[in-house]
Point group: C2
Chain length 219, copies 2
């Protein structure tokens, strides 16, 4: 059955109520860039295309529970805290029928998600946000997630979750720069985060650079 035959058979079963899915935008920093976890679609529509991991919401399932299920079924991962991002409802966003998607987003350290199953893989998030060949409106959802994360990094402490409990200021600055997608002036950066951090009595040595003071987030 090709995609157009599939879609014709599908419409016969369509009700006048929408179906609801959850889709996950799982972001991490890896190899110096923000990356997003995608799966390759096994079925129509968009068979063979890259897509966000997602599932249809079950009749008796909360949205959060559906997000957890999407994570484990589609990526083999678990135990990641997702925040609701935005709900997408353009009537033609799914060629099968009306499907409303509640998207969820998480930004987590690479170490905690390094081993998804074989169907899932990380891709540079900015490239995927601009890609024209992703399934559904998933490139748009990734664009929205990146915009949200860039806003949030300025007024929340999400960047700290990516550096571990103790860090040097160059490490923390690098996380901000990767998320914002732009280099920052050292002096401005340090002034801006000064109130959120405190010195430890440790120094980081090694590498080609001179030792850096190790900091931690203020309690």
């Amino acid at each position: 059955m090709n995609e157009s035959e599939f879609l014709q058979s599908y419409r016969k079963d369509a009700y006048d109520r929408p179906s609801v899915t959850v889709d996950l935008v799982l972001l991490t920093i890896r190899d110096g860039s923000l990356q997003v976890l995608l799966t390759r679609r096994q079925e129509h529509p968009f068979q063979g295309r890259l897509a966000l991991p997602g599932v249809f919401v079950g009749t008796e399932e909360t949205l959060d529970a559906a997000a957890e299920r999407a994570l484990s079924q589609k990526t083999g991962l678990s135990g990641i805290y997702f925040e609701q991002l935005y709900t997408w409802g353009a009537p033609d966003r799914d060629p099968r029928m009306r499907v409303i998607s509640v998207s969820y987003c998480a930004l987590v350290p690479w170490e905690s998600i390094a081993h998804p199953n074989r169907e899932s893989e990380f891709f540079p998030a900015q490239d995927m946000a601009e890609a024209s060949d992703l399934a559904f409106d998933h490139a748009q959802i990734i664009r929205y997630a990146l915009e949200r994360i860039r806003n949030k990094v300025s007024y929340t402490d999400i960047a700290f979750s990516l550096v571990g409990e103790e860090f040097t200021l160059p490490e923390l600055q690098k996380v901000y720069e990767i998320i914002l997608g732009t280099p920052l002036y050292k002096a401005n950066f340090r002034k801006k985060i000064a109130e959120q951090i405190e010195e430890t009595d440790k120094m980081a040595t090694g590498g080609k650079h001179r030792p850096s003071r190790i900091y931690r987030k203020k309690g």
Copy 2:
């Protein structure tokens, strides 16, 4: 037909797909407090109870369009920009059937919404957030909206939309205090907003107080 008879008849028609609604949290400042627009439900379930204005999303309708329609049909108002707030999907949140609600929120000057239709009325938002007799999970949605607005007032310029183009600092401080629900120290407040405002060459006179400098938002 009483509510339990109604619900029994309703379930016969239930599909295994959810219905989707939009619900609006329209907030304003009036009489020195944050108020929310509610309508009294004409039908089961929760007949006679106060509820957020809302509609079922039409088959060919975007979520944003449904929000506009809810506003005009339920309140008689129009032309208000709503932001999506959160999507609510607890399986038992509606006694009829599975209904997922996409909530929208707006915070606008009282003058622009002073005349809703007779079915709608403003109520103190904090009281409604704590009320136990609102329809559905609408008290919870109002709680969430208030929390979001209180966060946003610290890192966005939403407070300025409630004072007009020119304002005195006591007026602006009052808006912050009403939204945050707590008095602020004048010196701290002025230090915090200093970068966002600029002086005009005008003074506000009248009233019992000495004249106040008039400010505007920085371009």
